[in-house]
Subunit: 329 residues, 2 copies
C-alpha cells in the first residue's frame, strides 16, 4: 500500500500527493527524521522518493508583510507556466495556528491558478515544536520535488527566525521588500539580508523605491567591507507584481541560478542534509540517553542545588560513571 | 595550589577571588560544565566550593537601557551596606565585546562604593558562544556566593534573550522600567514581564510614571486572566534611584523573598541545576558521538543530497547501525 503511495507520488498523481503531504505534515519530527521507528510508513515513503529528489529548483521567497510576496509569486508562476513548467508552492505561515491544507488569507490571490493542473499550492501553518515548521516544509518540499514540480516555491509570511529557517531550506532565497511599510531594512532580522541570493524591490512604482534601492546598495557595500569583500552583493531587481513589470527578468535571474543543473546547489544541499541528519541524530541520542536517566538527573540536580555536588560532578556522574568514582568526592 | 585557591576564595580573600573569577571566565563552557576533562583546575575549584554554595540571595536586575539600573543597584547597595551585608555585583554586558574585569561605561556610577571592602563589583562582557554568557555569569556568581557575598546582584545591560537567561540564573528577578524612553512595555521581549518577581518603576518623579504603572497593572491583569489567574502579579514599586526615594522599601521587598532561607528558592535552584547539567551532558554526548563520525556524516550528507539515501536512512545508518542493515535499501 505504501509502495503504491510512493509510486503514485512519483507519477505525479496530485490527489495522492495531497494525501502524502498530509501524512508527512502530521508525522512528528522524530518520525519524519527517521529518529522514531514507529513511523515506518513515512520512512518507507521517504526512502522510496529519495532517489528522485534534487531535480527541482527550490526557491524560498521571504520578506516583511505587505511587500507583496504572494502577488509576486503568483506573477512568477504565470511566467513559469508559459514555459510549461509545473510549479509547486508551499505557503508557510509560522504565525498561524491553523493546520495545513486550507487556503490561508492571502493565498486567495493565487486563485488565478486554481484549476491549472500545472500549479500545486499547499499551505502549511505553525506547528508546536520549535524548528518543526522548517523541517516539515523541507520534507514536504521533497514530495513536491519527487512529484516532478520544478520550481518548488517555499513562500513564507513575514520575516522571523522561523521564516529564515524555511528560506534556508531553499536552493535560492529571494528577499522581497517594498517602499513604505516594509522598507526599513534596519528593522530586518539579523541574517535576513545575508541569506538573500536575490533581492527584489517590489511595488517599484511607488514613492520611496529609489530610497529603498539606495539603502540596500549601501547595506550590501557595508557588508562587503565588513566581510573583506569576500561575497558579492546579490542581484537587486525592481518589480511591480500587480502589473507584471520586471517579473520576467526576475524569473530569468532565478532560473539562471539553476543553469548549472543540480551541481550548482550541491554544496548547499550537502550542508543542509548534514544539518538535518545531525539534528535528527542528536534528537535520537537525547531520547535514548535521558529515557532511563530523567530520575537520576532530578536526583543529581537536587544534590547540586543543595551544594552536595558541583554541576561538573553531576555531569561526570551521568556521563562518565565508568570512568570516575560515582558521586565525585 | 588549586586547593589553596579554593580555600582563599572561601575565606573571602578578594584578590584571590578576582583571580578565580578570571580563571572561570576564561575557561570554555565545556571546562566550566565539567564536560571537558582538560579543565581539572576549574573542576577542582568548583568541586571545592560546591558545599558552600546557596547561602547568597542571587538578585537579577534587568530592564531596558536608560531605566537607571546601575544607579538603582548602587542605591540598593547603600541600603544593604547599612545592614553590614557584603554585596557582590556581576555587571553583565551581552552587547560589549570587551573582556571582563574592566569597568564598563555605566559601572562608573558605582564608584561611590569603590574602596568599600564590603562591595565587590565585577564586569563580564560578551563572549563568543551563544548562551555562554549566562552560563559564565552563573559560574562566576557561584564564586561570589562561596566567598560570602550576600546578596549577589546580577545586573544586565539592556533586555534581550541573553539578558533574560542571565536573569534566569537568579533567585529573584527585578525588572526596572522608567517613564520615557523605556516605558513601552509592549516593546519588551516576550517573557520579560513573565520572568519578573519584582517590578520597579524608577524615575517615578518624572512625567508618565502613572501611565507606566497603569500599563503594568493592565498587563499583569491580562496575564492573570490568560493564565487562569494561577500566578499572582509581582509587587510593583516606585523609586527615584538618584535621590533614594523608595529604595529602602525595594530592598525590603527583595530581602523578604529570602526570608524563608535557601528553602524558599529550592525548587527554582533544582530546576536551574537540572537545566545546566542536562546542557552539559548533551554537549559532551555530542562531542563524544561526533568526534569519530564527522567524516561519516559528511559522506552520508553527500549521499542524501544526491538522492542515493533518504535523511532517515542516514540517521539510522549513524545511530542504529547495529539494528538496521547499513545503508538502508
Amino acid at each position: 500500500v505504501k509502495h503504491d503511495l510512493a509510486a503514485a507520488v512519483l507519477a505525479g498523481d496530485v490527489r495522492v500527493l495531497a494525501r502524502a503531504l498530509t501524512l508527512v505534515e502530521n508525522a512528528s519530527a522524530e518520525v519524519r527524521l527517521g529518529a522514531d521507528d514507529a513511523g515506518a510508513d513515512v520512512a518507507a515513503l521517504q526512502a522510496a522518493v529519495a532517489p528522485r529528489l534534487g531535480r527541482a529548483h527550490r526557491v524560498g521567497v521571504t520578506g516583511p508583510p505587505g511587500a507583496g510576496k504572494s502577488t509576486l509569486v503568483s506573477a512568477l508562476i504565470s511566467v513559469w507556466r508559459k514555459a510549461a513548467r509545473r510549479v509547486g508552492v508551499l505557503a508557510v505561515d509560522p504565525s498561524s495556528p491553523f493546520t495545513g491544507g486550507a487556503l490561508l488569507g492571502d493565498r486567495v490571490r493565487m486563485t488565478q491558478h486554481l484549476g491549472d493542473a500545472g500549479v500545486f499550492v499547499r499551505s502549511l501553518a505553525a506547528r508546536g515544536a520549535a524548528g518543526g515548521l522548517a523541517a516539515a516544509a523541507e520534507d514536504m518540499a521533497d514530495l513536491l520535488d519527487a512529484a516532478g514540480f520544478d520550481p518548488v516555491v517555499l513562500e513564507t509570511v513575514g520575516v522571523g527566525q522561523g521564516e529564515l529557517e524555511v528560506a534556508g531550506a531553499a536552493d535560492t532565497t529571494v528577499l522581497v521588500l517594498a517602499p513604505g511599510g516594509g522598507d526599513d531594512i534596519q528593522a530586518l532580522k539579523a541574517g535576513v539580508l545575508e541569506a538573500a541570493d536575490v533581492v527584489v524591490v517590489n511595488q517599484a512604482d511607488r514613492a520611496g523605491a529609489d530610497r529603498l534601492e539606495a539603502a540596500l546598495k549601501a547595506a550590501f557595500e557595508l557588508r562587503q567591507t565588513g566581510m573583506g569583500g569576500v561575497r558579492q552583493a546579490p542581484p537587486c531587481l525592481a518589480t511591480v507584481a500587480t502589473t507584471g513589470v520586471g517579473v520576467e527578468a526576475l524569473a530569468a535571474t532565478i532560473d539562471a541560478r539553476a543553469a548549472g543543473g543540480p551541481a550548482a546547489f550541491q554544496a548547499r544541499r550537502v550542508a543542509r542534509a548534514a544539518r538535518r541528519v545531525r539534528a535528527a541524530v542528536e534528537r535520537r541520542l537525547h531520547r535514548e540517553f535521558w529515557g532511563s536517566r530523567e530520575a537520576e538527573l532530578a536526583r543529581l540536580a537536587g544534590e547540586v542545588a543543595s551544594g552536595r555536588l558541583s554541576a561538573g560532578e553531576a555531569v561526570r556522574g551521568l556521563v562518565g560513571a565508568e570512568r570516575v568514582s560515582e558521586g565525585g568526592r
